[in-house]
């Protein structure tokens, strides 16, 4: 890891998400006319600082995974920007860089590599403006670890090939160091060197998840989206994997976006936690702040559901009524108002803004809209 670039970007967030939207069109059965959209991610904005972990929580179907994948443009982005800093832009050619410039900057930035690199260092590069080729070149810097360690490994490739294929393709290490590098990555992820020639079906779930992690880390990434990496594993293995991720983060200064529905895991690994509900972010704060002082009623309900491993403690659970509304037809106003105990008239008509309630603590709820409530 080049600590120099890392140091420069410390003050600015490594990832900036601005108004990210991902809609999946619903097509009528015969004429294939779009009749509506499933708003899986609906106007999400947040920043992540380099070397930190953002935990994203929310119940099933709230759009966490879609958001993670959309951030990597594994799904085409419907609207919004995902800006990255500190990517290996020097791999790109000048035309590719020029194409990635936002419209307003097109005329102001000189078409030289130095000027372009400096501009993107300052403002971040929008992943949505990159051409496919350029994006493929930058892929190694932004990696993803999948939820299901079974289906995310090609059953017909040996482990060494699964981990090393992209390394070779992107020439991340020189050829002569390749074998050694793969072995070292495998060791770092708790795999044995002789596993190289084995096939995925010969491994247990935990080992497979480690293979997935090794595959992601072998690319020397800067940002890793961990898409529920431990939810398919049993608790003892979960701990192993989480600790492995934490160790690797310490070692390599990685930035994680840790998607999970397991609040205790998120609490363990995250620096900041964001809560999502029905495609939108409802609250985001530092870990301690969020767990001690949750603001949004949904966050409160979520936190009250954390089981306490002590039978004598009486749980003060906030039970939510009803189901998650359909993301194809979200409720008007605040999306949570159908299930909110503190709902009032305004919530039904007006969508709350995602605002900074106190420094570093963002929430989207009319209850905390001081000026207008008074």
């Amino acid at each position: 890891m080049n600590s120099n670039t890392f140091g420069n970007t410390m003050d600015k967030p490594i990832v900036e998400v601005r108004g990210l939207k991902k809609y999946f069109p619903i097509k009528s059965s015969f004429f294939k006319v779009t009749v509506g959209n499933v708003k899986a991610v609906d106007d999400v904005s947040f920043d992540i600082k380099a070397g930190t972990t953002l935990g994203v929580v929310g119940e099933s179907g709230c759009g966490k995974t879609t958001m993670g994948r959309t951030m990597l443009r594994l799904y085409p982005i419907t609207e919004g920007e995902v800006l990255y800093r500190g990517l290996s832009l020097e791999k790109l050619t000048v035309p590719q860089l020029k194409k990635a410039l936002p419209d307003e900057a097109k005329n102001t930035v000189a078409p030289t590599k130095e000027a372009l690199l400096a501009y993107f260092e300052e403002n971040g590069i929008d992943i949505n403006r990159l051409s496919n080729n350029a994006l493929n070149k930058l892929r190694p810097d932004i990696q993803i670890i999948f939820q299901d360690p079974y289906s995310s490994l090609s059953p017909r490739l040996p482990i060494g090939e699964i981990i090393g294929e992209a390394v070779r393709e992107h020439k991340i290490v020189p050829k002569e160091e390749f074998d050694e590098y793969i072995s070292s990555i495998m060791k770092a992820c708790g795999l044995q060197e002789y596993h190289k020639d084995r096939y995925p079906h010969e491994f247990s779930g935990g080992q497979r998840q480690r293979i997935c992690i090794a595959r992601a880390l072998a690319m020397k990434p800067k940002v890793v989206v961990c898409d529920e990496p431990v939810s398919a594993l049993d608790v003892s293995i979960q701990a192993q994997i989480i600790n492995l991720l934490k160790d690797l983060q310490k070692e390599r200064g990685l930035t994680y976006i840790f998607i999970s529905h397991d609040l205790s895991v998120v609490q363990h690994i995250s620096d900041e936690v964001a809560v999502m509900y029905l495609g939108s972010m409802v609250e985001k704060a530092s870990k301690d702040n969020l767990f001690e002082n949750p603001l949004h009623p949904y966050t409160k309900a979520l936190l009250s559901a954390i089981p306490v491993p002590d039978p004598d403690v009486k749980m003060n659970r906030i039970v939510l009524d009803g189901d998650l509304p359909s993301p194809a037809n979200p409720p008007k106003g605040c999306k949570f108002h159908t299930r909110c105990a503190q709902c009032f008239e305004r919530c039904k008509n007006e969508a709350p803004e995602f605002r900074e309630y106190e420094p570093g603590h963002f929430v989207a709820c009319h209850l905390y809209d001081k000026q207008e409530n008074e």
């Binding site: 994948r69 990597l72 594994l74 994006l135 493929n136 070149k137 930058l138 892929r139 190694p140 990696q143 993803i144 999948f146 939820q147 299901d148 289906s151 995310s152 490994l153 090609s154 059953p155 017909r156 490739l157 294929e165 992209a166 393709e169 992107h170 044995q192 060197e193 002789y194 084995r198 096939y199 079906h201 010969e202 491994f203 247990s204 080992q207 997935c212 595959r215 690319m219």
Partner: protein
């Protein structure tokens, strides 16, 4: 797992990873098979698949290794001595009487007798049909000028024309009152009394005078009162024949100058006249010939040697270059005349023995002195009306076509005299090779098209799948037959033809593969490992061919194995119809073509098609068994 294997495993792990301490539940201790070995393990449990594999291995060894140890090539043509029924000679009984003129007769006389000559054959028929013995032996013919001639029978086979004894003795000019007879040369003038008798009888037409009977016949060309007076006079001196009419013809013994005599009709007249008037010798051209009868056949000799025999039959050799020897002709004559006398003999066969030249390759064998070697040969003669065909069993050096299996040719030879077993081996090479190459082409096109359709989806998928539908609609057999005919028209070299045929077969067959691959890839591309490949920034072609295609491989292998059988069948069908692989290249299909000329060939030459049919069946069944076995083995739901 045996202890040995366990130990080896542990050792292997220790050697590769010495610092690792093995624990009891270490994953390295558990023997996990790679997918390929797992498939293999399942495959060898399937008895039919093992049978199919064994059959295929044997077939491949037979076709690709067998020819190395077999002495014959696929285009070797075999020759050998074989006995066969061969037409040797043709014989004919003459039924027309031919006239041979007396050389003393001048041309004018010949001309005036042309009418008579034309009537000889019908007159002979009348004589044969007559019940009157006198008429059977002698018959009167009147010439156009009203002159009487006699056709006399010399023997059963010969007749001769001579002057009639009933001749004009005088020309008579007169009427009922008075007439004058002018006697011709050589007749005595009988005077007035004769004139009176003739005048008196002018109306009745006949009268007697001096004990002789005379007829008065009106002269055709003369005036009203012109008459001829005829009288039956006895012949005097040696009878003069105008010609001899006979059905016999001389068959000459082999002498140097027989052709001269054969062409000479004067000689023939002399010989016939002498023979049939019962003389024992005659002189022609200062040479004295003797005549004798032997078994009723007149034989003419010269200087004490047999020169020719006379018989109403002619014989000719089937090979115009060789002459028939006299011994054979005599024997044949006997057999033929025997049959000729028997009307029921039409269509029957008679065999006889005669000395005849020994033949090899249709040519007589000569001894060291240059003489023809004779051997006693059995001949068969068959009568068809007046034609007789003679054949014998002769030894001929020829191409050995349709040889039955024997020690040299284990499965015999085919219609071209080529060894069937050798051609089956080489044909198997072509058939199997065509199968593999065609399936390979199908797979390449199918995987590329199906892969693109499945991976990109959308309109690309739509276009390719509609194309696949179109290819499914194409009736491939008519297309192949038409292209086969087109190749015939273009006179393509048989090698080019083979290449084109494989290309077309492959081109017509990819649709099924493409559809299968597309279906598989549609489901595979939604798998998370494909998203992972995309997230790793791998190129599209790498994603398709490294991640998707290997996962379709099991189904591909199964499809290919199954396809091999059907391609072999298609190729065989085409070649059988003569539109696929062409002679001289052998394939199992075009070898079958050998026995299609006649229905009887099917039973007669079973040794050609039965082995080929069995091989085609075996190959197709074996490929299907192996395909089934592979499909089951690749099925992960099958028990381990």
């Amino acid at each position: 797992m045996s202890n040995n294997k366990l130990d080896e495993n542990v050792k292997a792990n220790e050697s590769s990873n010495k610092e690792t301490k093995m624990t009891l539940d270490d994953a390295a201790r558990v023997k996990v098979l790679s997918p390929a070995r797992l498939v293999f393990k399942r495959f060898i449990r399937n008895k039919l698949a093992i049978f199919g594999t064994c059959v295929l291995v044997v077939l491949f060894l037979f076709c690709f290794v067998g020819p190395l140890f077999y002495p014959y090539g696929q285009t070797d043509i075999f020759y050998g001595w074989r006995e066969q029924n061969d037409d040797y000679a043709y014989a004919q009984i003459r039924s027309e009487y031919v006239n041979y003129w007396n050389p003393d007769i001048d041309q004018d006389t010949k001309k005036s007798l042309s009418f008579v000559e034309r009537n000889v054959n019908s007159t002979i028929l009348k004589m044969l049909a007559s019940e009157n013995e006198e008429e059977q032996n002698s018959y009167e013919i009147v010439s156009e000028d009203g002159i009487y001639y006699n056709l006399v029978k010399l023997s059963d086979d010969a007749y001769a024309l001579k002057d009639s004894t009933y001749v004009v003795v005088a020309d008579f000019f007169g009427n009922a009152i008075k007439g004058v007879a002018t006697f011709r040369d050589g007749f005595e003038d009988l005077g007035e009394e004769f004139n009176a008798a003739a005048t008196a009888a002018i109306k009745t037409g006949s009268f007697e005078f001096n004990g002789k009977k005379y007829d008065i016949v009106k002269d055709k060309n003369g005036t009203k009162q012109d008459y001829d007076i005829y009288c039956d006079t006895a012949a005097e001196g040696e009878t003069k024949y105008y010609f001899v009419s006979t059905i016999v013809t001389p068959t000459f013994y082999k002498t140097d100058d027989f052709t001269k005599y054969n062409k000479d009709s004067a000689f023939k007249y002399t010989a016939y006249a002498a023979t049939f008037t019962g003389k024992t010798e005659f002189t022609y051209d200062n040479v004295t010939f003797g005549v004798k009868l032997e078994d009723g056949t007149p034989i003419i000799s010269r200087n004490g040697e047999d020169f020719a025999f006379l018989a109403p039959f002619t014989a000719s050799s089937s090979d115009t270059a060789t002459a028939l020897n006299i011994e054979f002709q005599l024997a044949l004559e006997k057999a033929v005349l025997e049959m000729a006398g028997n009307a029921a003999a039409v269509g029957t066969e008679v065999s006889f023995n005669a000395l005849a030249p020994k033949l090899e390759e249709g040519k007589p064998v000569l001894d060291e002195n240059g003489n023809v070697v004779l051997q006693d040969t059995e001949f068969v003669v068959k009568r068809e009306q007046n034609d007789y065909t003679v054949w014998c069993i002769s030894s001929i050096y020829k191409i050995l076509i349709y040889e039955a299996p024997n020690s040299e040719h284990i499965l015999g030879t085919d219609a071209n005299g080529m060894d069937v077993l050798a051609r089956i081996m080489f044909g198997g090479r072509i058939s199997l090779m065509v199968g593999f190459i065609v399936v390979f082409i199908e797979m390449i096109i199918g995987v590329i098209m199906g892969g693109i359709a499945g991976y990109f989806g959308g309109w690309v998928d739509n276009i390719i799948m509609r194309l696949v539908d179109v290819f499914y609609c194409i009736p491939s057999m008519p297309i192949l037959i038409i292209t086969g005919a087109l190749f015939d028209e273009l006179n393509l070299d048989y090698r080019e033809r083979l290449v084109w045929m494989m290309a077309i077969l492959g081109f017509l067959g990819w649709a099924g593969v493409a559809r299968m691959v597309r279906g598989q890839i549609l489901s595979l591309r939604e798998q998370e490992f494909m998203v992972a490949a995309e997230a790793s920034g791998l190129s599209t072609s790498r994603r398709i061919f490294r991640h998707l295609v290997p996962n379709v491989m099991p189904q591909l292998i199964v499809q290919a194995t199954m396809g091999l059988g059907s391609v072999i069948i298609t190729e065989s069908t085409l070649s059988f119809l003569g539109l696929g692989v062409k002679h001289p290249l052998a394939t199992w299909g075009n070898m079958m073509n050998n026995i299609t000329q006649k229905v009887e060939y099917l039973t007669a030459y079973a040794y050609i098609w039965v082995p080929i049919g069995c091989l085609i069946c075996l190959a197709v069944i074996a490929f299907n068994f192996v395909g089934d076995g592979l499909r089951d083995a690749f099925d992960p739901k099958m028990k381990r």
